[in-house]
Subunit: 365 residues, 4 copies
């Protein structure tokens, strides 16, 4: 209820602040007998870690995930899995300048209004650092999906207004933006360098592709898979919009264009983005999100302080020119967590039907 | 958990099918002492009702909301409020043609895959008729918001690719699309007539404006107000995308352009759409949704039947050329329900702080 | 959150007041393909109905359960099942005398304190009439349990201090108290007649026996099966205590006496009452509840009115001499609902394990 | 849903195993501005710690509570509070003897049946060690209650069949059983020594007294305060029964004896135990629980091993002769957590009413 949990069956609760002892998550509802060890987290944590790419802040963290509970002899037990990631390089000194200033585009003002205080040390709870816990939980969700044959991939399709023209997913590991068009990537890279030189930042659009999702995930009428995915991704601070399938473009199509005809070999188009009436239809799930430019910039901006005096503010701490490389693993994690939850939810009806079938078989004999 | 409930404190559970006895909702968590009588529902129900506008199906329903519980002498008691709306004109005969066909763009296929059956009588549970219950619940939410001085208005900003050029909210009651630009409305009207003549349908974009929302609504980190609003609106069947504030456009702005500077008289722009770090900032909340064209069209479409044979399907029942006039009150209802829930959630901290203040006052004496 | 829902997967939400239009319940999470028709409810509703036994109020109700949704052609669809029971004989006139008086032992005072009002017409929401909705929901839960081979039976083991000496469950349908000892039943009957003659009322102890429950139901650590059963039964107004297995007697045993040894043919005793560490162990589940005497009595009692004046109150409306015959079906219903919920919860892990096994089989090939 | 969380507004999620890295809890929904530091936990943790009393196991733990998040400069921020307690003396060697044996009275068998494995190292998740996390969370709940003037005290009223004859709460800190009758305490002490000498164990009955609870806590109809308290305490492994007020004795009283008359100075008796129709009535809340004798005993008991062979088992690890001294702080913690949750829940209606009153005042002007 206080907002720090997500999911029903596969349920995560995150905790921790950017400049406190660390960041953590409790994953409740993970089935037993799944192999899990500390090293399983390394790859995803490295992807989200600041300082790993050329567009990132110089903050250096190792982000080792410590498994505090729920795993015995490298296998999950069914007990809640608590994960903890220590904050190593958490100098709060560099944030002193804003002890009384509200940074534009950040939660300083709203947290101050809600809680009567805000944590000036790099945003505290509403720092992007919180998402490290989501990535860690996403690794566990990913193990469940992998047993189900479901694969989630996110990649940049637009940065600072520069969109892709071709889509070759085999190249997304070759550039820090996970861009599937190397030619346009070069232009995106240039735009980012230019923005950086100006002390400014850029946003963009990322697409998420889910392959292998069976038909039948999602619960009517409020817990539609589309609705839960929308909530999942909109709970990431930098994201300001989400669309499924044709999305906003669907609003410009005629019904005869937008409908996906059914054929013997499946749907012949995928404007629905793999979800019909809130339930997965077995086709690829496709969604896109809008990521705003990072609000912390080196340019001077107007603001007020806590006492209501007008001030200028200029970010002097660590900051990136775009959040995208780090948002991508978080986005994948949130999509994985949502799918794992609905996948486990679907177990109920599925197993119950097996029981009914067995019984009606018995009845026939 | 089974997906038919929404909200935490102000919690609604809907039930009913399009061609069963009726549609209903239980509203749990409504505070006592709010005046409520049957006639309070009439205006909103009439707005959502099919057959009321020129773009709508000829289905004629009165949609009287019967209050089954929770109200005594026209005042809420704090007990759950159950509302029921009888289905009056529910001939399922006209749906016989699709008893074995999956309609493209509808939930027939996915419900069949999930539940092992689907209700061929006008979609059953995934019919738009279910949203009547949401509109009824929205009326109660609206009463709470009205005591808090919060007002929610939705209006069409684009239909079939035709966007508005001016925004005069005083004219939205003068046209069935709630379009704030009468000149462009004429063009939208023409586009709808053309689509209808072709046996086709159109979608569009609707904007929701929330005025008077205090700062501080929304709970970090997953139950951000933006995340809950996204889920709320994406749970409406026809909606394929949602954006807050500048939304997808924010992805094309630089940080220096997108940040809303704070001044002595408030924020000097509103790209954030009234929500920062997931918490309302006291400014107008603005969101836009993409509504897909209605899938039921008079044109022949490819599909398959339950046995996997290829077939052609042509809608011959009742259908609209656009869902927008009827989606608008549903959209407002879902936004109201989300805000009422977070408004009541904010009571906890607010009253607790009053308690703490009173105590610290006592301590000082 | 507002307290009118129970269960996680099999989730019921009740609504309605004793002297309003009726009482109802929405059951969300019932699997599809279960046969269900109106007549299925008749037997259980008749058991709970007042006026059916000799110790009951003369209030005459038929308690027909109307299925409002979730069932198509007498089979559940997976959609929420709404049930409604009209109030037929709901004269509130006889309650006028207590319009301003707080009845001792009833919720008048506490509802007044909590909500700033109370419904003087026969208790409104906190009337025993609300339990009719639970019994109706229990019928659906019972269908699920029956597919699982689980059977729930409740019977009186003590009334007004008179306890049973033998236990023959085959006779419980032969007396209105469901007493398994016909000899002691005669004494109980006499005690009830005496109490009635004095204008007084009696309470008693009821035992619930669950046969056929598989091992493995219940979730650690808070949602223990024992904890959820305790909440379920303590949510019935008249119940003031609950014990599992040896219960309070276990507090007087030595460990060597209380432990149930495991043998090749199962547990050789059942002090645990079928639940170990909160999880069912496959043995019979046994619990007992304490039911207080009905607070409405013909004898004059001291009370105060809303304005704080001392008054005498004497029940002149309809009232029973003991609640037990009517509590029994409610108690069975709440136990069934709790078990059905945990049974469906157990489907998740069970089906997931089948998936894992299938995969590891594939791996071996 | 997976059972490791409790509470709605003040919501705790525990994690950890007896012989893993440690035990922890995340408290979500704690209001901001409450003073909290590590030392605040010391007293309660010391009470629960094994090895502190004469009837306890020699296991020596310091149980320092580390605050991982949610507190800044010794004040709560409104963010989730994660607490962690390291396992220091966790030799699992002494449990090797039961690697394949199911201990009678423990969860070994049921966990094995549910999860397909069990943690033989001192019970793992179902160890009493898990309750350390509850005690830590209870300290935070206690801070909220203390601001509300609510005080919770538990004390032993019976051990091994020896009941108290007088009740002087001022002496409960003078003996390890928190017994309010020093004379009977001596007899209890003797009974415990005797049981220990025999290699056996004893159970008993503990009463919990809540003073200062305002009227109005509890939500009808399922989340009655009595029902939530019952679940809270029955979720403690050793507890097999709970009763409120007169409890099982109420089943033997007549209505005229059991009803608590209202007078100008309050209720003239308290058979209701402070709760009417599930809502606190402003009087003392009184409940009693039955605690079973500790199942681990030095006497040989019959059991089977995982392969179904009959075996004898004798506890050779660390074990207590009675759980009561350590259960008392856990019991107080669970009652505090339940009350804090309902106290915060009551803030919603309370603050909303203030808003309504302010508005109606404005209307009058």
């Amino acid at each position: 209820m206080a907002g720090n949990s997500f999911g029903e069956i596969f349920r995560i609760t995150t905790f921790g602040e950017s400049h406190g002892k660390g960041i953590g998550v409790v994953v409740d509802g993970c089935p037993p007998h799944i192999m899990l060890k500390q090293a399983d987290f390394d790859h995803e944590m490295a992807r989200r870690r600041p300082g790993s790419g050329e567009f990132d802040t110089p903050r250096k963290e190792e982000d080792d995930v410590e498994i505090l509970s729920g795993v015995f002899e490298e296998v999950t037990t069914g007990a809640p899995i608590a994960l903890f990631i220590k904050n190593r390089d958490a100098s709060s000194k560099s944030y002193d300048y804003m002890k009384t200033l509200f940074r534009p585009g950040h939660g300083d003002y709203t947290y101050h209004m809600k809680y009567g205080h805000y944590d000036y040390r790099g945003a505290g709870r509403y720092s992007a650092r919180e998402t490290a816990a989501r990535v860690a939980a996403g690794v566990i969700a990913g193990k469940i999906l992998s047993q189900a044959g479901i694969k989630v991939t996110a990649y940049t399709v637009e940065i600072g207004g520069i969109g892709i023209e071709s889509k070759d997913l085999s190249v997304i590991t070759e550039n820090p933006l996970c861009c599937p068009d190397m030619k346009r990537y070069k232009e995106m890279e240039k735009a980012l360098s230019d923005a950086k030189a100006m002390g400014d930042s850029l946003g963009g659009i990322v697409e998420v592709l889910v392959k292998g999702c069976p038909a039948g995930l999602g619960d009517p009428v409020f817990d539609k898979l589309s609705a839960d995915l929308a909530k999942a991704v909109m709970s990431i601070g930098a994201i300001k919009g989400v669309e499924i399938g044709a999305g906003f473009e669907a609003a410009r199509l005629r019904g005869s264009q937008n409908n996906d005809p059914l054929t013997l070999s499946g749907f012949s188009s995928n404007n629905a983005g793999g979800i019909l009436a809130g339930i997965s239809n077995g086709d690829d799930i496709i969604l896109r999100v809008a990521i705003k430019p990072i609000p912390s910039i080196a340019l001077a901006q107007d603001t007020v302080d806590k006492n209501g005096n007008p001030e200028k503010i200029k970010a002097s701490g660590r900051f990136d020119v775009t959040a995208i490389p780090r948002v991508i693993p978080v986005l994948e994690a949130m999509v994985k967590i949502t799918l794992a939850d609905h996948f486990l939810r679907s177990m109920i009806t599925e197993n119950y039907r097996k029981l009914q079938d067995a019984e009606s078989q018995n009845g026939k004999k």
